[in-house]
């Protein structure tokens, strides 16, 4: 059910009373050692539990429950009301408090049930250049025949991430973005899967430590020197199959495009002929780490990265030469990925 989202300006600019309140709250929050405490507990849990191989199913030992601020306040309100009710022996007030209290307490089981049994199937990510946000696609599976509501997945140290429902038996992808700083392997940081379903009285969460890493390419140099001229002048073999020069004819085979049918020749004979095309091969360029003197390693890798992108853009075949590793001249996405990976992991 698609719905348009309206975010009114009034809510983006909260009123004055709210602002001063939140300022006070922010100051109070600074005093609250929550974050430091959380980091310490997180570290301990990670050491105790270790990393997790995927797929990983949440069990009771992975799930933590604490009352929320609202839950605490609501509990206090109930206690105060109960004191009043006990003092005046007001039985209806006591009944109200006791039933609501039991109910609020029971939601902790529901919240727990909302998480337990979920399976973290896989984490996928496309490599990015350092500095760009890395997009993690986290696949969660709900193997049971009940709905899971308001599942929030975030990096363990961030407050916002993605939020989804999982229908019975459904699998869905949660999207997270992760800041990158430098090239190389980036280990996926701890994740937090949480829910405040159903009443937000309890906050139930699980820390996930998936054994997974993502590749980050070097930053492409901003103003790289021009691509080096074609290497040693030796021209490579022509690339067959596509291009604009005919190098021969062959019998028509179903699936050949009409554009390439040699209509005149075919008319002279009793069958169809297809023109075979080729692209004349330009000389490939050599992207050589050692030729970039006067720069440090990272800068050289940046320039090489930029060159790979430029060569790929101009569909030039390129050869990457790194100390201890050489990738033969080629072009295309696979070659590009191989070169960038070599650059990312160079040390």
């Amino acid at each position: 059910m698609a719905r348009s989202v309206v975010i009114p300006s009034s809510l983006a600019a909260p009123n004055a009373a709210g602002k001063s309140g939140s300022r006070l709250a922010a100051r109070l929050r600074k005093l609250w050692p929550g974050d430091a405490l959380r980091d310490r507990v997180l570290e301990r849990v990670r050491r105790r539990r270790g990393s997790q191989d995927l797929p990983f199913t949440l069990a009771y030992r992975n799930i933590f429950v604490l009352p929320t601020w609202f839950g605490t306040g609501f509990g206090l309100l109930l206690v105060l009301t109960a004191l009043g009710g006990l003092n005046f022996n007001n039985n209806l007030a006591l009944l109200l408090v006791f039933v609501l209290g039991s109910l609020a307490q029971m939601t902790n089981l529901l919240a727990y049930r909302n998480l337990t049994g979920l399976t973290l199937m896989a984490i996928r990510s496309e490599p990015v250049f350092a500095g760009d946000p890395l997009h993690l696609q986290v696949q969660l599976n709900n193997p049971d025949d009940r709905y899971r509501y308001s599942l929030e997945l975030a990096l363990a140290r961030a407050s916002t991430g993605d939020c989804r429902d999982l229908a019975p038996g459904a699998q869905d992808t949660f999207r997270l973005s992760l800041a990158t700083e430098r090239r190389g392997w980036l280990a996926v940081p701890p994740l937090r899967l949480q829910t405040r379903y159903p009443l937000a009285v309890f906050h139930v969460w699980s820390w996930l430590f998936p054994e997974q890493r993502c590749l980050v390419y070097p930053v492409p140099a901003k103003n790289p020197p021009p691509l080096p001229a074609s290497g040693d002048g030796r021209s490579g073999s022509a690339r067959r199959g596509a291009g604009d020069q005919v190098y021969g004819l062959r019998n028509y085979r179903p699936g050949d495009t009409l554009k390439h049918i040699a209509w005149r020749t075919s008319a002279r004979h009793d069958q169809l002929y297809t023109k075979q095309m080729e692209t004349p091969q330009e000389a490939s360029c050599v992207l050589d780490f050692n030729r970039l003197e006067g720069r440090d390693t990272e800068e050289r890798l940046s320039v090489l990265t930029a060159w790979v992108l430029m060569a790929e853009h101009r569909t030039l075949p390129y050869r990457l030469v790194l100390p201890g590793k050489t990738l033969p001249a080629d072009s295309g996405p696979a070659h590009r990925a191989a070169c960038l990976e070599a650059l990312a992991l160079f040390d």
Partner: protein
């Protein structure tokens, strides 16, 4: 990697184009409205309008997407409302006033409620408001009210939580399985919470006596008798059908004409109204009490809270029940604290008791005292009667005969009287309600030199044959007179009975005739009275449950007294039991039960095979099982191959005809059974 921390800011309840049923803010407003209902009914109209106005504004603002009002405007509105509130209630100490303040403030809070946090505060405090309403009324209908408030609040909490979770990623919350299934789920949850709640209710140790009491001045008068009587004060009670008290008699039930329930006794007349407040009779303890062996009636009274100090009993109470502080010389039963909760007490009465054989000194003076300068015509008439009739009893009879023979009328709508009220009543209007007759008669007696006083209380009641108790309603309120005669002491005289004997025999409703309001039919009254046993049972079982009842709760098991430790143990036991019953339902952790019986039995079949040592695992498909069948014992191979083949056809080729056979085979198969 450096740890980066992102702070969680407050979450706005973003306004998405969600269907009305999913809008958390509307549910919060609804919760507050439901919680306000009884309070609105008791507030003056201006305050009702001022309370509803912010709620209406906020509702429209939510639907139309308006911005919050400017702070100054909100402040001005708040101040105006506060001023009006103080103006209405005088101070803010009274319970009604304090709850009124809470109501108005909650309504005003809506004006600035745009965040999840504020919305939760409003919904939580609405529940608190609901609890405060139980201070005023604990009738059965309030149970429905409390349940409605809770359900509204729970839905609001659930929707806030959901909207908040999705607002963090700036998305509207998807509808999930739909609001109806959520509602069923919520009510089921509520039903599950009830056993635990009831266990807590029964076993949570109660306090024997309150730690703090309500300050006297914080009480707001309820409808009921008061300690003064002016023309019209009892008449207003006549419209009120709420129960005043219920009486169960041990043994004989007196006839209607004997049911004079004694309440406040009035000694002082200031020319316009009667007062009980300053009189001596009230401050003095009764010296001579009826002997216990003379007692005619024993009965238990279940008194509805009236926020006054007196208890009601038939003439003359023979002893002071432990709930009362004093049995006064004019035989009023007074409590130490105002009766703010349902109170049950036992008392006994002696009808023939001789009250005050002597009346001397200040009491006699008080019983004769009248202000100067009022009612000259009556004074003249009394002087004349006194000279003609020297005997006191004869004079009393003459006065009663006067009421009976002259064209006096018993009516609910008497004309208004001015300064010389008794003169006008006796000689001009001759129309009045019981308080007119009682007052006029008492004043006439005092003028003639006979000590007299006014007694207010209730007369009669409706006897419920089935449950065997007497129900006395506010509309049974009555006023009569007492005169002191030498040799017989204080004697009850009911001048109203002289005018309208049916008032005493059949009750005020029959004496007046006509209807008080559009639904005031005989059968409606009969029905209501007949249904009152439910209220009585509710009072008995729920409202009157206190520390004493709690400790005697297991009396039927032979447990005399439950102390706090036993209660806590019982509570723990009950909680463990409920937890054992409820938790598995809530968790239902078992793997998802397969709906298709074929698949279910197929899995069981694989488990059996694996259990018998066959190289089969529960995750294998039918082809793999068939491949593994070759390694099984000869006798099983045939069956396994056949079953696997059938399963393939039924499940993957969707052949329906083999289904029943397959099911039978799957159920019947046991590895090695053919050997």
């Amino acid at each position: 990697m450096k740890s980066k921390t992102v702070k969680a800011g407050p979450v706005n309840l973003e306004r998405f184009k969600t269907p009305v049923a999913y809008n958390p803010m509307l549910w919060v407003i609804g919760t507050l409205f439901v919680a306000l209902l009884p309070q609105l009914a008791s507030m003056p109209a201006t305050l009702v309008v001022l309370t509803l106005a912010p709620m209406v504004w906020r509702t429209v603002a939510e639907v139309r997407g308006w911005k919050p009002l400017p702070t100054l405007l909100r402040l001005a509105f708040t101040l105006a409302t506060l001023v009006l509130l103080v103006n209405t209630y005088g101070n803010l100490l009274g319970r009604r006033a304090a709850v009124g303040l809470l109501s108005v403030m909650l309504a005003l809070k809506l004006l600035e409620t745009f965040r999840a946090r504020d919305a939760r505060v409003v919904a939580s405090l609405s529940l608190f408001l609901c609890a405060t309403q139980f201070l005023f009324d604990q009738g059965m209908i309030m149970l429905v009210y409390g349940a409605a408030c809770s359900i509204f609040a729970l839905i609001a909490f659930a929707l806030i939580a959901r909207t908040e979770a999705f607002a963090r990623i700036r998305q509207p919350a998807p509808p999930g399985r739909g609001i109806l299934s959520e509602l069923t789920f919520g009510s089921r949850l509520m039903l599950l919470a009830v056993p635990l709640g009831v266990a807590l209710f029964l076993f949570f140790p109660r306090w024997g006596s309150p730690l703090w009491g309500l300050p006297e001045r914080s009480l707001d008068s309820k409808t009921g008798l008061s300690d003064s009587m002016a023309p019209g004060s009892i008449q207003s009670l006549f419209m009120d059908d709420s129960p005043a008290f219920r009486v169960s008699f041990r043994g004989d039930v007196p006839g209607n004409e004997a049911l004079y329930w004694r309440g406040p006794v009035m000694w002082d007349f200031d020319g316009r109204q009667w007062e009980a407040g300053r009189s001596w009779g009230r401050a003095l303890e009764a010296e001579v009490l009826p002997a216990r062996e003379d007692v005619d009636y024993r009965y238990e009274v279940q008194l509805e809270p009236h926020e006054r100090h007196w208890l009601f009993a038939l003439d003359y109470p023979a002893f002071k029940p432990p709930e009362a502080r004093r049995l006064t010389r004019d035989f009023q039963l007074l409590t130490r604290r105002a009766v703010t909760d349902l109170m049950t007490y036992e008392v006994a009465s002696d009808v023939d008791f001789l009250d005050s054989p002597d009346l001397e000194g200040p009491l006699r003076t008080m019983a004769l005292n009248l202000p100067e300068g009022f009612n000259p015509r009556t004074r003249e008439l009394m002087a004349q009667w006194r000279s003609e009739t020297p005997s006191d009893p004869a004079l009393v009879r003459r006065a009663l005969a006067h009421f009976n023979e002259q064209p006096f009328r018993y009516t609910l709508n008497p004309p208004l009287l001015s300064r010389h009220s008794v003169d006008e009543f006796l000689f001009d209007t001759r129309e009045g309600f019981c308080e007119h007759y009682a007052s006029a008669f008492t004043i006439m007696m005092r003028m003639a030199g006979i000590p007299a006083r006014v007694v207010t209380g209730y007369q009669g009641g409706w006897y419920n044959e089935r449950s065997g108790y007497l129900l006395v309603r506010q509309s049974d309120a009555h006023a009569w007179a007492e005169v002191w005669l030498a040799g017989v002491g204080w004697t009850r005289i009911d001048p109203t009975a002289a005018v309208a004997p049916s008032r005493v025999e059949d009750g005020a409703l029959d004496a007046l005739g006509g209807r008080r309001h559009w639904l005031d039919y005989e059968w409606v009254r009969e029905f209501r009275n007949g249904m009152d046993w439910m209220n009585r049972a509710w009072n008995d079982w729920v409202i009157a449950f206190d520390a004493a009842r709690q400790s005697g709760m297991l009396g039927f098991l032979g447990v005399e007294r439950l102390d706090a430790r036993a209660l806590v143990l019982l509570l723990a036991l009950a909680m463990v039991l409920t937890a054992l019953l409820v938790t598995p339902w809530l968790l239902r952790l078992g793997r998802n039960r397969e709906r298709d019986p074929v698949v279910r039995h197929w899995r069981r079949f694989l488990e059996r095979l694996a259990g018998a040592g066959a190289p089969v695992s529960p995750t294998m498909g039918p082809l793999e099982v068939a491949a593994a069948a070759g390694t099984m014992p000869e006798s099983d191979t045939r069956d396994v191959m056949r079953i696997t083949q059938a399963y393939l056809e039924v499940r993957y080729a969707s052949r329906a005809e083999g289904r029943d056979d397959l099911l039978r085979d799957l159920k019947r198969f046991r590895p090695g059974s053919n050997r």
